[in-house]
Symmetry: C2
Subunit: 791 residues, 2 copies
């Protein structure tokens, strides 16, 4: 919802406190702009207190006298000089009526709409000042503090500092609160005070931060005679805004104009500069045709990026920024929305207490609390004993592999020597992906992601998978397995997703026998071949992510785990669950163990772990795994570590995330989604559910261009009919292209959408706390694109 216009330069004005001269200095800015510019807009979204003092009188008269080019507006007015959240309540009490308190969204839309309307008719070099009420954290009408309530608009900011005793403190604190929300602060204005001299302190303090501080003579003391007072005030205004168009206020004006121009130039330059300097991950730069292919993200909030569009279409009247739904949850990381203040504060708290501190043989609260939480009351519950930290899913998997290989090697008798350990392989599924470092890649078969040094070490099964076709749940069994079946692979008997994921019930089905026989025979065959000896079972439970969002039949994974554990103790394989993508409620469940009915020996977690803010990974291990590295020899230890292992900022953010997730998954939106899925044909208490609407999912599965769809938790996967191209295919991208562009700006579905495809597979992913309203709007956009392609 954030806005930026070429012609209309908008600034919002925050106060370091109440009564610091916000209205007065904003009025002075309005006057100064009016003397210089074609049109000036003065928006006070919320006003509290009686219109009675000289300042207001002046503003009113001045506006009256300059109607042709000066437009003032107030969206919500209250007569009590109270914090807006109380003023609106009081008004309601007085009127004995229910005044509906506008939500932050309604409020934000009203302000945005007002700005947009005025911008559309504004001649070049118009100005708008949006004056907030009270201090920066004074509650808005809904009770959210203003710094938070205005954040989605992301307007450049003028901070009015406090010139009184204590004002240095309140000005710096207010600035820091604005920083915590990412605001661009263009300047700080305050009154001069010869005794407290706050400006003298603040000017160099903020110069260090490249922020201008300007000071102004304070207003004259109030005169007891109203008319004399009016004249005094008028004279004061004229001294602030002299007809010569010189002095501080005009310098500020020039500075604000320069900031606006610089911001426009900066955004305009970003695509070119990016194409000149950046080497993107997973991007064929040969396909990037020009500046229009660069997605310029100016800021982000909640489920949306705010992207620049000036390099894609010439816009003079419309906003150069537009909302874009983050349809891949920023590569599967987002859980609580972009720029979540609670996560920012958690990061700041740990940075302020520790920075980063050395971890080997040390401890600190953020890491310890996180480890305990994960091991004892999280995905490691009931099986894990230790947490080993690293930086990302790929490093977490390298650690997991080192753990598993060692655990297997030393339980052989005699323990394998180093030469034999190099030859160990893993058992897995075709289409697996565990990250891009060589070790993580070596645990996968050869494929599109593998590279020069890749050396596939192991054996990978072609997995059966789950999907919804023409409204029906199907299990597709690969030919290799089907050949064994004698007609018993019929997945049609499974009416609902909950039945598919009721693994325990399915253990006695004919299909289970087919799987069991097939896997056993394959393992026997592999064992006879001897090389490479298999030393671990490595699975992405439930969904193979980067390999094509394949929903593996959970029964097959369960049987794999059971069978590798049935051997004599020295031959059982350690089981690694790579839950980097699927874990921590991405698919609606904290971890996949309970669903599959088996726990791993080692599991890896990342992405959502930090709520989507910054890199951190953890590898959880059973006690048996840990014991495999214990000895009196230093060199037997797990000699793996990254400099920032268990960095306090990441751990503290993860702790905050886990606390917040608990609330989200027990909250109304999740309950409603669960009820929708159980009400719509699933069992009373569904084992699985989705934040996506069941009716929508089934409906799109009937559309002609769609081969199959599937959903769990936050994930929606749409496979197009074009099955040929695999990762190289462009069909999903082409089919869904209509959702990319933003629509007419005033519709609630106005946003554009950013999404990723994997060849002929398109997927969409929400945050864990995405409002259902947003998800419904996204569904509408997808539906339009698919059904229009259909017709």
């Amino acid at each position: 919802m954030s806005l930026l216009f070429k012609n209309l330069r908008v600034h919002q004005v925050f106060g370091a406190n109440t009564d610091v001269g916000k209205t007065l200095l904003t009025s002075a800015l309005v006057r100064a702009s009016a003397t210089k510019h074609e049109r000036v807009f003065y928006l006070k979204p919320v006003s509290t207190g009686p219109m009675q003092d000289a300042d207001d009188e002046h503003v009113k008269r001045y506006i009256g006298a300059n109607k042709d080019r000066l437009h003032a507006a107030c969206l919500y007015r209250f007569s009590e000089p109270l914090s807006p959240h109380l003023a609106v309540q009081l008004e309601a009490d007085k009127e004995q009526t229910e005044i509906p308190v506008p939500s932050d969204e309604t409020f934000g839309s009203a302000v945005a709409s007002h700005i947009r309307q005025n911008a559309s008719g504004a001649p070049s070099y118009s100005h708008m000042y949006v004056e907030t009420a009270g201090g920066i954290h004074s509650p808005s009408l809904s009770g959210t503090t203003q710094a938070d309530a205005y954040r989605p608009l992301f307007l450049p900011t003028i901070l009015i500092g406090d010139s009184r005793l204590g004002g240095i403190s309140s000005t710096i604190s207010a600035y820091e609160s604005l920083m915590l929300r990412g605001y661009i602060v263009d300047c700080i204005l305050l009154f001069k005070d010869e005794y407290y001299r706050n400006g003298e302190y603040l000017a160099p303090y903020f110069a260090e931060k490249q922020i201008n501080v300007a000071t102004f003579d304070p207003p004259p003391p109030r005169h007891s005679d109203p008319s004399a007072n009016f004249d005094l005030t008028e004279r004061y205004y004229q001294s602030l805004v002299p007809p010569t168009q010189e002095g501080s206020i005009f310098n500020v004006l020039s500075h604000l104009d320069a900031c606006h121009s610089r911001r426009l130039e900066e955004l305009e330059s970003m695509p070119r500069r990016t194409l000149d300097t950046i080497w993107w991950p997973f991007v064929q730069h040969g396909h990037v045709k020009g500046e229009q292919d660069v997605n310029v993200i100016d800021s982000a909030f909640g489920d949306f990026f705010s992207v620049y569009n000036g390099h894609r279409s010439k816009r003079t009247k419309k906003s150069l920024l537009e909302p874009q739904f983050d349809g891949s949850a920023s590569w599967w990381t987002q859980a609580l929305g972009h720029a979540n203040p609670a996560l920012t504060t958690a990061a700041a708290r740990a940075a302020g207490r520790y920075g980063h501190v050395m971890f080997p043989q040390a401890t600190h609260l953020p890491a310890l609390n996180l480890a305990e939480r994960l091991v004892k009351d999280g995905p490691g519950k009931d099986w894990a004993s230790r947490a080993f930290f690293s930086d990302d899913g790929s490093t977490g998997m390298e650690i997991a592999l080192k753990m598993a290989l060692r655990a297997y090697a030393i339980k052989q008798s005699p323990p394998l020597d180093m030469a034999n350990r190099k030859e160990l392989g893993v058992l897995g599924l075709k289409g697996s992906y565990h990250g891009d470092t060589i070790g993580a890649m070596d645990a996968c078969e050869e494929g599109v992601y593998t590279c020069e040094w890749h050396n596939a070490k192991g054996y990978w099964f072609d997995p059966p998978y789950v999907g919804i076709r023409k409204g029906k749940v199907h299990i597709t069994v690969p030919e290799s397995i089907a050949l064994q079946s004698e007609g018993s692979v019929n997945g049609d008997a499974l009416q609902s997703l909950s039945q598919v994921y009721d693994v325990k019930q399915r253990l006695d089905t004919p299909l289970a026998s087919v799987y069991r026989t097939f896997v056993s025979q394959t393992l026997d065959r592999l064992q006879k071949k001897e090389s490479p000896a298999l030393a671990a079972l490595v699975l992405e439970p439930i969904v193979l992510g980067a390999g094509g969002m394949i929903f593996v039949d959970p029964l097959f994974q369960r049987i794999l785990v059971d069978l590798v554990r049935e051997a004599e103790p020295s031959k059982t394989l350690p089981v690694i669950f790579d839950e980097v993508f699927v874990g921590l409620y991405r698919l609606g469940m904290e971890t996949s163990g309970p669903l599959l009915g088996v726990h791993p020996d080692i599991s890896v977690h990342a992405k959502i772990l930090t709520g989507g803010l910054l890199p951190l990974a953890v590898t959880l291990a059973s006690d048996e795994t840990f014991q495999a590295f214990l000895s009196e020899n230093k060199t037997d230890a797990l000699l793996h570590g990254h400099s920032y292992t268990a960095h306090p900022v990441g751990c503290e953010v993860a702790n905050e995330t886990l606390n917040m997730l608990q609330k989200v998954v027990c909250g109304d939106e999740w309950k409603e989604a669960q009820e929708r899925w159980s009400g719509a044909g699933d069992t009373d208490s569904p084992r699985v559910f989705s934040l996506w609407d069941q009716g929508f999912v089934e409906a799109i599965s009937h559309l002609a261009p769609v081969k199959e769809v599937m959903t769990l938790g936050t994930l929606l996967v749409i496979k197009t009919q074009d099955d040929s191209g695999g990762y190289r295919s462009n069909s999903a991208q082409a089919l869904l292209k209509p959702v990319v562009a933003a629509l007419n700006e005033e519709s609630p579905n106005a946003f554009g959408m950013h999404f990723r495809t994997l060849g002929n597979v398109a997927y969409f992913m929400t945050s864990l706390n995405s409002p259902s309203k947003t998800i419904r709007a996204v569904e509408d956009r997808i539906w339009s694109a698919l059904s229009n392609a259909h017709s």
Copy 2:
């Protein structure tokens, strides 16, 4: 310097603003404590304004009447009601004398000393309240804001909120500023106000953050008659602190006591809990004998950890927290000191503006600015064209290797097929280390760090290296090379480090010829062997870090680079500089290219990149390297990426770091160090220098237990005489054990030291901005340990 006592519960009191009732509510707490506890201390480190109002009068009288158990003190008193930084100046002006303004360090020491003295005699369950002056960011005597000035003491905090109009805002902002500095806020106290009702808003707001909010009746209006006023005030105090010992203030007291107890219990429990849950990197848990082996880091500031010592010695009178010098710069990451507020703010700013956002085919300012800075005006200057982001040095090196192997493979004619690409090897040095992921390890020879799947791919030279023995600079040439020399390997001709590092001058020396002949012949021999074909030269320039802090003769590295580039174009090897450890001024220079006189084709940077706050890495590449991945095929792209690639928080912190580094390396401390080294025998403008004192370095090189020392920039390396054990040796750890424990608490060298060893090598590393005073103190401690071992 942070303090925590078993018997004496200390809280500091910050105000959300001036005039919010800080003194009054602190006095009430003092009174309440006095009625309950054996002894109460009321410390007002700085007091400004006349002692005249009723509050102060009451405090004075109450203290007078309770002398036996109530001790009040003020360290700096000024009569003007001004911000302390102005009050101290005004005093100086009045007295016409130079009143020396105490530095933050002096001020902190005075407060700490006062607390320590009183704690030493305090009976159990004594209390101390430390009342700050003005608002939380009001300037201290030195001008630093109070929130920053008190930060090293890291005392648990009571925040006095603001009950007036606007007070919600100032209270929340003040709290956020405290968070940014990591403070533990135990509760918020404020007056009730029936009209503004701030408490009603703040209580649930802070309950979400697990912070208690307590409200109190406001003081009565001032009576014009002083005596009546006194009585009124006394009655008010008695209502706040009734003899029944019931009511809000006593609830607060219990809460503060509970917080104190919980903090003690938490610290006491941490070693045990850590031993039960954490799997440390690079630690043989079999060597960890018990709780005393766990370093409990409670917080950190500047160059010091604040560590808990209660599990190592029983302390009732002394502080349970003690300073510990971070002697490995937290695994080589620290550049600007722990908990640097500028880095915290940078992290918060980016988290608030973006959170994390998707990077492929996208751009955002923090990443773009950082890429440009690194490529055009940083280590990539004059050669790099692109920046590829990742998470740590290890992933950065995996990317570098993928780049180099591809660049080599496709310039062969015909380009190598995939099978041949798997067999490519690298050329490097024995003792190299590039990280712990398998690909990075495969670029190193077999060694202590390598593991199950390691497969050394390449050839590694035994490198000549530089060291100082008995005050003289030596180059130790390995036997393999020396055999070729016919007497020309005499390094003694080099008198100073600057001569050793004047690579250009040395290119014509006999030693250069020896190196050149040896390397050429080896390369010829390797080429004849054919397998593995070498496809890249991979170097840690100047110093091999984890391999034993080996200062490689830079001449040898230069000649290696020259020779691999002398072949016909298709056979030249891409050169990778792994500058993860050595770069960004760790060794005094931004990058090693200018010193060696050659640029790489690919370089990797991490660690210092974020100033030591959180993980981020970047791989820089030449345009030729980038071109090797361009095509019309998606699968030819560099298909490598981590979810948090170019995360805005990391990039913004890196940008802030690079700005700050520029100031540090041009600052006085660095200039003085450079002058010391040039004055002490080196050339006028030394090519290399150290923050360690040249006299000290030479002196310890003469000591009996020391075999060799070496230093550059922030790094000091001490090799013990025990050469046998290598990585398994414990000799360096044993020799320097005396520096571990903290000394007598009142000495300036009181701190303990945390340092790391690599077998018989001990190393010490400062931040880039460590004050020379601290470094001298560290040198003293090292000197004592080594010279006592000597005697």
